[in-house]
């Protein structure tokens, strides 16, 4: 299968590979998998608890080139966004940017699921503390 240039670029030079400590302040972790192919993807965000802006994002994906590229792109897009803005990233945005063929759409869905899972984890862990910290300043 021919990959688009952007997929190859993200695959060869993945951005933001790595991880944060799960319970570090402002960190939200999403771990998701694709039952179609057995790929697993971990995506983490680090949110500034004062501003609600995602300051950093990291991922580790064990899967095909498209899954790696989708999560790599997702981390790039997440940085600098607020938590609310991040929730609006759609898998179709990733499909369009990477020109994924129909058989690889589930990779972009996986990346969207990972973003959602990370945001949900962040909210459960930090939203109260975040609000408290913001109001106390």
């Amino acid at each position: 299968m021919a990959y688009s240039e952007k997929v190859v670029d993200h695959y060869n030079n993945p951005r933001n590979v790595g991880s944060f400590a799960k319970d570090a302040p402002g960190v939200g972790t999403g771990l998701v998998g694709a039952p179609e192919c057995g790929d697993v993807m971990k995506l983490q965000i680090k949110v500034n608890l004062q501003t609600g802006v995602i300051e950093d994002a990291k991922f580790k994906t064990f899967g095909c080139g498209s899954a790696i590229a989708s999560s790599s792109l997702a981390t790039e897009w997440l940085k600098g966004k607020t938590v609310d803005e991040a929730g609006k990233i759609k898998n179709t945005d990733i499909v369009n940017e990477l020109k994924l063929p129909p058989v690889k759409i589930h990779c972009s869905v996986l990346a969207e699921d990972a973003i959602k899972a990370a945001l949900a984890d962040y909210k459960t862990k930090w939203i109260k503390e975040g609000a408290a910290a913001a109001s106390s300043t």
């Binding site: 299968m1 771990l31 998701v32 998998g33 039952p35 179609e36 192919c37 057995g38 790929d39 697993v40 971990k42 580790k60 064990f62 899967g63 095909c64 129909p102 058989v103 759409i105 589930h106």
Partner: protein, 196 residues
Amino acid sequence: MDHFEVFGLPRRLAIDTAELQRRFYELSRRYHPDFHQAAPPEEQARALEASARLNAAYRALRDPIARVEYLVRLEEGRDTKEGATVKPKAPPELLEEMFEIQEALAEAKAGGLDEAGRAALVAQRDRLATRLRDEEARLVGPLSEQWDASRPAERQRALATIKESLAIRAYLRTVVDDLNDALGESQEGYVTNRRH
């Protein structure tokens, strides 16, 4: 016409494969283009179509796991692995486990495998391969029987259990494939189901 109907079978997972093969040969002869050479073109075309449909149906039904996968697609009304209406969820702790194995494997590969590291990977691969075989046995055994025995009201639940088991199988297969790759023991001619 679905693949079960091609053989005149009900939508059940218990199939006598010897009987299925016998029916396949019988129908193959009936539709074989050689026997329709003198027939009008429309009839020849119909025979060819029936022959192609028969081959596809046999491929989908002869292997008990392929049969389960086909049943799930059929019940959900889709043609491919893509676009499952309800995504099967593997247990979260399985995902965690798979991720940790993959992470450790990546580190082991990066550091170069010594004798002990290799032995550890072999032992891990063997344990996971056993779990994979157990999951497949559960799928074609009790879970298939449960589907066949289920009343209409119980079907969705039986199907959900099957889908979860298929998801567990996919994760185990992937990690066993990756361990085999790392050990240089990928089987000849064996095509892994992903990573294209």
